[in-house]
């Protein structure tokens, strides 16, 4: 008997399969298409193939994420804030703060000692401070593959400052910096720092105290430059899961196990 969690994000759809002991049997990731039902079904199929399990063995499915309601094969739908909290807590039982930066949204979640969500903040209406912000500035303007943004930014000696966190205005700022022949590594760190400042300000605005341990998840957590920038801004150590994109799907899978009872 296995349990599935599907997180249909704006950019990437994730699936996690667990067993009764909450051990991860397999996980998979797939770019989210306009057809979220298809994305959910596709990513689940991939995970089943990786784990060599058949669909019949799935006892219960919980879907979460931006496209959670569009995936009609799930038994239950839950918001991603709750799933992030549950999934992250299973990996880091002492976690008190979660920073999650995904493709089009960012979240800061505060948990109490028992793992209960006490506060959360999400971005609204605007892609500033999300993976999309990094993607636009890095691939379109800096002409760098997104994977290289983190490593190159760590070479920065004199980080650039972006005064705007608006994706559109930041674009022209980066162009100006390039025209001033500012080194790419300095601009890269400036971009990473801008996203770090944005997400921290969002949390502070929501009266989140960023108690430790702080766990950083979501696709952007793969960027070592953003990790460093968040640590510098918070003056705290930040933990990154080995697979930072699957925490919400893992939480959904754990809820699936609980609801199956």
């Amino acid at each position: 008997m296995i349990f599935a969690g599907i997180d249909i994000g704006s950019a990437v759809t994730k699936a996690v399969l667990i067993n009764q002991r909450e051990e991860i049997l397999a996980f998979s990731l797939l770019a989210t298409s306009y057809d979220r039902q298809q994305s959910g079904a596709g990513v689940l199929k991939l995970a089943l193939e990786k784990s060599r399990q058949s669909a019949e063995r799935i006892e219960y499915i919980v879907s979460t994420g931006y496209g959670r309601r569009a995936f009609t094969s799930s038994d239950k739908v839950l918001p991603e804030i709750i799933c992030h909290a549950r999934g992250t807590k299973s990996l880091f039982p002492a976690v008190r703060t979660i920073i999650d930066i995904g493709g089009q949204d960012s979240k800061v979640i505060q948990l109490d000692e028992g793992g209960m969500v006490t506060r959360f903040e999400m971005n609204d209406k605007c892609a500033a401070g999300t993976g999309r912000f990094l993607e636009v500035l890095t691939e379109r303007i800096l002409n760098l593959p997104i994977e290289e943004l983190g490593p190159i930014s760590l070479k920065s000696k004199n980080p650039a400052t972006l005064s705007s966190v608006c994706t559109v205005f930041a674009e022209s700022e980066v162009l100006s910096l390039l025209s001033e022949h500012k080194p790419r590594e300095d601009i890269a760190y400036g971009i990473n720092r801008a996203i770090a400042k944005r997400v921290i300000a969002m949390g502070v605005g929501g009266q989140i105290s960023f108690d430790e341990p702080v766990v950083f998840s979501g696709g952007v957590a793969k960027n070592v430059g953003v990790v460093k920038a968040i640590e510098e801004e918070l003056d705290k150590k930040v933990i990154t899961p080995k697979e930072p994109q699957i925490t919400a799907a893992l939480g959904a899978a754990i809820f699936a196990k609980e609801y199956a009872r």
């Binding site: 709750i82 949204d105 969500v117 209406k125």
Partner: protein, 470 residues
């Protein structure tokens, strides 16, 4: 069901058979003036009203009818003016005793209204069609995103579109924000030189936590401000109001408030007897003057209380027994899906904090002088500008009605409230140890909502509450 959708609409909003010959043509005319089409009326009948309002209850239907009658009346304000009636407007929040006292003194010689309130409530709550007014305001001078709330934009657009006439006097209040007086200056300078305004202000200069109604100099100051304002209004329109009339209104106000306190008790019952949106408009009777009078509202309230009592007695509810319930700062039926989303996710938000009265607010005034009594009444509310005092009052309300937590926010349109809510949230959480949430958004105008993000927020709050309660 009648073939005429306008007639269906009136039936659904509690109009009696014998009222049809008078009101059907008037409603057709009024809805056309408001910019509502037959399709809009059909949408209200088929979708909006059945989805969000407990129209199976006569008291709720009658309540909706009171708002329709008032709106019909508002669209006839130009006719009243042509016939010589004096037009007096106001804005929210205000002390409405004075407007009612004018009406009681000279019922046929004066027309009183807070036009933006009725237009905003009717157009968005019933038809989800306020956007043309807001867009008109934004297109012609109050740009999108400049933090002018939907009420201000609606007031301006309604004048611009000819829905309402110029007032003889617009008595407005700077009790909370400064945007409303600025809007009236804007209307006067840019659009309507006849738009005449008198402003009564109350500075936000009290130390945190001051119990303002117990500071006699404060009460006297506000009373003097009100008296000056009311004298100005009376001189402008040439109608003299006796102090007895104001006292008469205070008695009516207190009677209505006591009935609302009973309704609040019923709404806080477990299980929650009806959806929050259904009853919310009853509270407008305390804060917005009806030119058509408060009597019909009171009658609707009496019926609703009786019906809801029966539901409470039979444990009939819209949520399961034991469902978590949150106090929301201010629930607006203009974005009815917010409350509905909570309820669909198993959490009740039956009452609005701002409209609940504390024990002290329900007590008779200390002063016999009507201005002092009115000033004391307002200061007893803590006025939304004194977080120290207000947080104490919120704690009392949370305790009285046994709420499991509280939701602030949905006030991003207001510079003052948008930020003070964060402060209040922290103070209430520290004092009560209950979970307190904040939701970004605008509870007048949902054009700018990211529906998915807001739904995620609400669903998350609901899940947290259910987990905590479990």
């Amino acid at each position: 069901m009648a073939k005429d959708i306008y007639e269906d609409f009136l039936r659904l909003t509690g109009f009696e058979e014998d009222e049809m010959p008078k009101y059907l043509p008037e409603w057709r005319k009024a809805s056309a003036k408001l910019g509502l089409t037959e399709e809009d009326v059909k949408f209200a009948v088929k979708e909006q009203l059945p989805t969000y309002f407990a129209i199976e209850l006569e008291g709720i239907r009658k309540l909706l009818g009171c708002f329709i009658k008032e709106t019909i009346d508002l669209t006839r304000a130009s006719e009243y003016k042509e016939r010589g009636a004096k037009i007096v407007y106001g804005i929210l929040p205000a002390i409405l005793h004075f407007y009612y006292a004018l009406k009681l003194t000279a019922p046929d010689k004066v027309f009183v209204s807070f036009p933006d309130i009725f237009l905003t409530f009717i157009l968005n709550s019933f038809f989800h069609k306020l956007a043309p007014y807001l867009e008109e305001a934004e297109r012609t001078g109050i740009p999108y995103g400049c933090r002018h709330c939907a009420l201000n934009k609606t007031r301006y657009a309604a004048r611009r579109l000819g829905v309402i006439p110029s007032p003889d006097i617009n008595w407005i209040w700077g009790f909370i924000c400064d945007e409303a007086p600025k809007t009236d200056e804007f209307i006067n300078i840019y659009h309507d030189p006849e738009w005449k305004t008198y402003i009564t202000r109350l500075p936000h200069d009290q130390p945190l936590g001051t119990v303002e109604d117990e500071v006699i100099s404060r009460v006297e100051y506000l009373a003097a401000q009100m008296k000056d304002g009311f004298e100005f209004v009376q001189n402008e329109i040439g109608i003299k109001v006796s102090e007895e009339k104001i006292n008469e209104v205070i008695v009516i106000w207190q009677r209505y408030a006591a009935k609302l306190a009973e309704l609040a008790q019923l709404m806080a019952a477990d299980p929650q007897p009806v959806g929050a949106v259904s009853v919310r408009l009853f509270w407008e009777g305390l804060f917005t003057p009806f030119n058509t009078g408060i009597e019909a509202m009171e009658e609707a309230l009496d019926i609703a209380i009786k019906e809801i009592k029966q539901r409470v007695a039979s444990k009939e509810g819209i949520l399961p027994e034991g469902a978590p319930k949150l106090l929301i700062y201010s629930l607006h039926p203009t974005v009815p899906w917010v409350a509905k989303t909570f309820e669909e996710n198993g959490v009740g938000i039956p009452l609005s904090e701002f409209f609940l009265l504390t024990k002290k607010q329900l007590m008779p005034p200390t002063f016999k002088d009507p201005y002092m009594a009115a000033a004391e009444g307002w200061l007893r509310t803590s006025g939304m500008v004194n977080p120290g005092y207000q947080s104490e009052q919120i704690c009392e309300k949370l305790e009285t009605h046994k709420f499991d937590g509280m939701v602030f926010g949905l006030m991003d349109f207001d510079r003052w409230l948008g930020s003070s809510h964060r402060l209040l949230a922290r103070m209430v959480e520290e004092k009560t140890k209950l979970p307190v949430f904040y939701i970004e958004g605008d509870n007048w105008d949902d054009r700018d909502y990211s529906l998915e993000a807001l739904r995620t927020r609400i669903e998350s709050i609901c899940e947290i509450m259910k987990m905590r309660k479990a």
